[in-house]
């Protein structure tokens, strides 16, 4: 089977034709087109390595009313993703080989995107004892990332043990940084907006203190640490300091933390409720700069589908989280490319190459070069689209961008040479 992507611009640079045969890029530039090749007219669109999402919630098992591996995979493919890491806070929790193998197998069956299950760090996410990290790593699912996301591994001793233990398995512990004693009853970023509107506050220090602690522990244990959804400029400062002194730490930022701020709190609409919360415009600005600089390594969506009854209610009763898979590229285009902070090579780095490295995926985030696996995403940088939650592939519809017009449209996604999404539809 062969596919020709005609007149694309790899990394937004010079125009070239790209030929793919049997899942591998076989020619770029001057190309001999096989007669039976499927042709994609790229017409100057930007060709990037397929995106990799280190942080996504597929809700299966347990909340299939909001998302399944099937619908989530579709959303991912439409968003330009060729691999996603599915977080462990399912019901039952993915803290053993049985659950992670189910998620892995199901992802393969659906076949739209490589679904890599994330294993829990602690049993039941309770933060009391380590889960069987080794068994999960060696299972069919080959778990490479472990996280209690949703919750913080708060006990410093347990976090130390997890980091130490992980070094033998060549896996990474990804921390949801939130000191629970500082966020009891918290609803929104502790700042001017929350003070006026009567929201109990979630102080920035609750995130920064854990990140600082875990960086110190990781350096001490010579372990790899990954920080989930960085939300404050203070955390970016801690990361810069930790990296300068040689800590093996990586970090991700969500698209919503690059664009949205706590000014959205005034409507009390829980579509804006998320953990960690939306921060100030100053934080958003500094996060963008940190992402461009490389202090924050990559973008991860923290795609979090929620049922209508968990969002169409009063704020304190609502669950935190927003959809993100299908809007990620557009938000990055809006906040980073349009502003000149990143070029398309930079987008490739933060949405594909670095996440693939952190997640240890040898086939993804590869250069667009002859001999490489054809995990590719084609983007029309000049097109715009209007976000409608009801039209997204996810079962749930909780997008904070409802009705917004965004730049950048994913026109095709290829997983090992096979077209999974094309022109806004699953292929």
């Amino acid at each position: 089977m062969s596919t020709l992507i005609k007149s694309a611009r790899p990394y937004g640079e010079d125009v070239a034709d790209v030929l793919i045969e049997d899942g591998v890029i076989t020619a770029i530039g001057a190309v001999d087109v096989p007669a039976d090749a499927e042709i994609i007219e790229a017409d100057g669109q930007v060709l990037l390595p397929g995106f990799v999402d280190l942080h996504t919630h597929l809700r299966e098992p347990g909340r299939e009313d909001t998302e399944t591996i099937d619908s989530g995979s579709a959303a991912a493919a439409l968003g330009g993703y060729t691999a996603v890491f599915a977080m462990a806070n399912t019901d039952p929790v993915a803290d053993n080989a049985v659950i992670v193998e189910h998620v892995w197998r199901r992802g393969q069956e659906v076949g739209l995107v490589d679904v890599h299950p994330v294993g829990a760090v602690t049993v039941g996410l309770k933060g009391e004892r380590l889960a069987e990290l080794g068994t999960m790593a060696k299972s069919q699912a080959q778990v490479k990332v472990f996280s209690d996301d949703g919750l913080c591994v708060a006990d410093p001793l347990l976090m130390r043990r997890a980091l130490e233990y992980s070094t033998a398995l060549d896996v990474v512990i990804a921390q949801h940084a939130e000191e629970p004693r500082l966020t009891v009853g918290a609803q929104a970023h502790e700042g001017e907006q929350a003070a006026r509107l009567g929201y109990p506050g979630w102080p920035a220090a609750a995130e920064e203190s854990i990140v600082a602690r875990d960086c110190l522990l990781a350096l001490h244990a010579k372990a790899r640490l990954h920080v989930c959804h960085v939300s404050t400029s203070g955390t970016a400062d801690v990361l810069r300091w930790a990296k300068e002194r040689g800590t093996n730490v990586s970090a991700e930022v969500t698209p919503h933390h690059l664009l949205l701020t706590d000014e959205r709190l005034a409507t009390y609409d829980p579509v804006n409720k998320v953990n960690p919360p939306l921060r100030t415009s100053s934080d958003a600005e500094k996060l963008r700069a940190a992402l461009a600089e490389g202090v924050i390594d990559c973008v991860a969506t923290d795609h979090a589908p929620h049922a209508v009854q968990d969002k169409d209610c009063e704020w304190s009763a609502a669950r935190p989280g927003m959809l993100g898979l299908q809007t990620a590229l557009s938000i990055v285009a809006e906040t980073m490319v349009r502003t000149g902070l990143l070029d398309w090579r930079g987008v490739a780095r933060v949405m594909s190459e670095r996440p693939a490295e952190i997640g240890n995926l040898p086939d993804h985030g590869r250069p667009i070069a002859v001999g490489e696996p054809a995990n590719l995403t084609l983007v029309d940088p000049d097109a715009e689209w209007t976000v409608r939650g009801a039209e997204l592939a996810s079962i749930a519809a909780n997008t904070p961008y409802e009705g917004m017009r965004l730049p950048g449209v994913v026109t095709a996604t290829l997983l090992r040479g096979r077209i999974t999404a094309r022109d806004g539809k699953i292929a």
């Binding site: 004693r181 609803q187 003070a195 009567g198 929201y199 409507t267």
Partner: protein, 315 residues
């Protein structure tokens, strides 16, 4: 006026109109044989209280009835809420049953605003009777009415609000209303009971009650909950003990002596005598606490009048 959700952003001209109406209503009803006005006859007002409250609920009920409205009280503990019905569904049910106005008290900040969104199509007016730690606008209005009565006007007056500001919707509503009506507000509290970012509100802040009292025209004491002390549970520990709080921030008889002659003492109730306010102070001539309650009925009548008497206003 379509809803009364907050004093933050309430047009001071409208607030003054409501206060003037309340004064006139009070005056009209004085000494009358029949304490009833036909103005809201045929209007249905439903109180929906998710938090226990005798004082506020009764005040609203009397206000509605004295205006000849049909008042129905729904308390969350006895209703379908216990069966898991969402706030939205409960509200839509009440609107469908014929409510022209829903008066809501709820533990979630923003609940009244969310309600007004869900009831927009039904055209039902919403009155916020207290939402979480956000606002309690009718309390601020009756406090302002009481202060106007005692002090003549609010312009350039200095009002101290003392106590647990962080958790107080009464404080927030008063801060916005008093400052929009031309008064100066000073908050007096331990740093732990002030919201992070308080300096962005139209107030000055002090931790020294004795220093502030001689220069104020009124002092509003807020309730302090015992659970907020050290040992009060996870997330609490706002001050070490009731004794230390009371020594530093309680309005004692001695402190009453520091106040100027004309100064007024207010408290939204219920009071914890001996904690934030000494018994003798609560009963002194400076205390306008019973007037607050009395004015509460007239102010709430005025609010209902401005919301419901005219179809144009409620649409």
């Amino acid at each position: 006026m379509k809803h009364l959700l907050a004093t933050d952003g309430l047009d001071p001209a409208l607030a003054t109109a409501v206060l003037d109406t309340a004064d006139e209503l009070k005056h009209t009803l004085l000494g009358r044989e029949v304490r009833k006005l036909p103005t809201l006859r045929g209007r249905t007002v439903i109180t929906l209280f998710y938090e226990n409250s005798t004082r506020t609920r009764v005040s609203f009920e009397i206000a509605g009835k004295w205006m000849s409205a049909d008042v129905v009280n729904v308390s969350a503990s006895s209703s379908s809420v216990n069966k898991g019905e969402s706030l939205r569904d409960t509200a839509l049910t009440l609107a469908a049953a014929g409510a022209d106005c829903v008066i809501i008290r709820h533990p979630a900040s923003g609940a009244a605003q969310r309600l007004s969104g869900w009831l927009a199509d039904a055209g039902t007016a919403v009155v916020n009777a207290g939402d979480g730690t956000h606002e309690h606008p009718t309390q601020a209005l009756l406090d302002a009415a009481t202060l106007r009565e005692r002090l003549g006007s609010l312009k350039d007056r200095r009002i101290a609000i003392v106590g647990d500001v962080l958790h107080s919707r009464v404080a927030r509503s008063n801060i916005h209303l008093l400052s929009s009506l031309g008064a100066e507000v000073v908050l007096v509290a331990p740093p732990t009971l002030l919201p992070y970012g308080v300096e962005t509100l139209p107030v000055t802040v002090s931790h020294d009650l004795d220093a502030e009292l001689p220069a104020v025209d009124a002092v509003m004491m807020l309730r302090v909950q015992a659970e907020r002390m050290a040992g009060g549970g996870p997330g609490q520990s706002f001050f070490p003990s009731a004794r230390e709080y009371s020594i530093a921030y309680g309005l004692s008889e001695k402190r009453l002596g520091l106040l100027p002659e004309h100064a007024v003492v207010l408290h939204p109730g219920p009071m914890l005598r001996g904690m934030e306010i000494a018994s003798a102070v609560a009963d002194s001539p400076a205390s306008a606490i019973t007037e607050q309650v009395r004015n509460g009925v007239h102010v709430r009548m005025a609010v209902l009048y401005h919301l419901l008497a005219s179809e144009g206003a409620a649409a």
